[in-house]
């Protein structure tokens, strides 16, 4: 039984449907002609071979109602740009520009420029929307330019030049900042950067002046050539490549050097190793992954692993170390994980619905939810149970040094009553069966390996 992918409906020429574990792309006549042109090009063969473009095979018998159909390999985890780190969005932007340059040379163009067309596989960006390629028509400008600036360039500028994380913006407005909004935000010397002058300020001004004037045919008649697109792409690539986010050592980036972390890390690694051996998970979700030490253990053990954390700096470092590993990365605050949103509330699905784990790691997490986010322990355990799979969890007692920091100025009566070990064990017993447990040397932390009841 096939079902349309709720995130694939904007392009009438090409739509993705999920048929069990198969991912199919249904094409109309125009989509099929564009696919055949792409498939016959050297560009396609080389981009697939070097892993920049997802593989696609044309089906001999397309489903009724479609002119043609392709089958793609299924990706283990889909992430969205508002869950990416700076380096992930930057690499995706460079891929988008490089593919456009190479495609144009082969007489093909990419009709849009959205990061939702890119996913990360083995720590590298891969372009997944074959339907975005179409034959270049003489005199056509780059239709995706404005979208590229709003969804790639401006978010990167937000972080690199203004020091503001782009993820909350992209999560709130899937289309990204407008040129006018960016022009309002850009201050100081950066306003006079050539890239800012053209892509931000001039674009904002021209957008305001030309809002209701069609110019596409005029540009064609005036002799617009693909060389002009290539010149723009070259300048954009140089601008994007120059953008850096200097996050240094702050917040959780230093977590690995904390005394309690170093002391207990080996024990926790061995405990996780035993759980992986016991439960043999194919898919692991590491909640509060921090520097990804435990996610990496799971990935190296052969599980398709997803590391979730709210600290962009540690995840950015993890991304740069994840090449060759089956390790997805999602930046998200677990007290407020990415929701389902977009058209009909379904276009982008909730983070927890995309992960589909068969083992959850919750090391060094629940005290943050209980003490910093004030989530009642019962809610936390119920939430862990909702994944409906085994869980490896680290209980942190109220006497722990980290808890003292998290409690801060909160008074005892302002904290949840069932935060102590005995009531927490009772909660676990209601929803899980403990298969293994181990006290850490600190004396304030206990590891539990749990199977859902």
């Amino acid at each position: 039984m096939s079902s349309p992918d709720p995130g694939s409906f904007r392009d009438p020429a090409s739509r993705v449907v999920l048929d069990g574990d198969r991912v199919l792309r249904l094409l109309d006549d125009r989509g099929l002609a564009d696919w055949r042109a792409l498939a016959g090009s050297d560009f396609f063969a080389s981009a697939v071979a070097d892993g920049r473009l997802i593989a696609a095979t044309e089906l001999e018998d397309p489903p009724a109602g479609s002119a043609g159909a392709l089958e793609h390999p299924r990706l283990s985890f889909i992430s969205y740009p508002y869950e990416w780190t700076f380096s992930m969005l930057k690499d995706a932007a460079l891929l988008q520009l490089d593919l456009l340059k190479d495609a144009l040379t082969a007489g093909i163009t990419i009709k849009d420029a959205t990061p939702y067309n890119i996913q990360f596989v083995q720590g590298k960006p891969v372009f997944i929307d074959i339907g975005s390629f179409e034959l270049y028509r003489a005199g056509e400008p780059w239709i995706g330019y404005r979208q590229f600036t709003r969804q790639f360039l401006f978010p990167l500028l937000l972080r690199a030049w203004i020091g503001v994380p782009f993820q909350p913006w992209l999560r709130g407005d899937i289309e990204g900042p407008t040129p006018a909004q960016m022009a309002s935000l850009l201050g100081g010397r950066k306003r006079f950067n050539t890239g800012a002058l053209f892509h931000v300020r001039l674009q904002a001004r021209m957008e305001a002046r030309m809002s209701d004037q069609a110019v596409r045919e005029d540009l064609k008649s005036a002799g617009f050539t693909p060389e002009l697109i290539l010149a723009n792409v070259k300048k954009l690539r140089s601008l994007v490549a120059s953008l850096e986010w200097e996050h240094g050592e702050n917040g959780w980036s230093e977590y690995g050097s904390c005394t309690h972390v170093g002391r207990d890390r080996d024990t926790k690694s061995e405990f996780l190793g035993s759980a992986i051996e016991h439960f043999q998970p194919k898919r692991v979700l590491d909640l509060g992954a921090n520097d990804g030490h435990f996610s990496t253990i799971a990935a190296r053990a052969g599980a398709e692993t997803v590391a979730v954390d709210s600290d962009e700096a540690v995840l950015d470092d993890l991304y740069r170390r994840s090449s060759g590993l089956s390790l997805g990365i999602a930046l998200s605050d677990l007290a407020n994980p990415s929701p389902a949103q977009g058209w009909a509330g379904k276009e982008r699905s909730a983070l927890t619905d995309r992960a589909r784990p068969d083992l959850v790691i919750a090391y060094g997490l629940i005290h943050h939810l209980i003490y910093a986010a004030s989530v009642p322990p019962r809610e936390v355990v119920t939430w862990l149970r909702s994944f409906d799979c085994p869980v490896v969890v680290e209980f942190v007692s109220p006497g722990d040094e980290m808890v003292a920091k998290l409690v801060g100025n909160k008074l005892s009566h302002e904290l949840h009553a069932d935060r102590e070990e005995a009531p927490f064990r009772s909660l676990l017993g209601e929803m899980f069966e403990t298969t293994h447990e181990m006290a850490l040397t600190s004396g304030t932390r206990i590891l539990f390996s749990l199977r859902p009841r």
């Binding site: 979208q147 030309m210 540009l219 008649s221 005036a222 002009l228 697109i229 300048k235």
Partner: protein
């Protein structure tokens, strides 16, 4: 007519030519001249005025 599902933004389309250096700037100016008749002694009619002129040239039914 070819349907496009993405609004490319007219200002953004024109800007691409401007960014493309001297050749591009010439294309942008030419496109704008064609559209508005800028830089000529007498302004060319806008597309709306063109339409109006054609309309008025139609025989009037009585």
């Amino acid at each position: 007519m070819i349907f496009e599902y993405l609004d490319p933004g007219s200002g953004s389309l024109l800007l691409q030519a401007v960014i493309g250096g001297a050749t591009g700037l010439a294309v942008a100016v030419k496109a704008m001249r064609a559209k508005y008749g800028l830089g000529r002694g007498k302004a060319a009619p806008t597309p709306d005025e063109d339409d109006a002129a054609e309309d008025s040239a139609q025989p009037v039914e009585s």
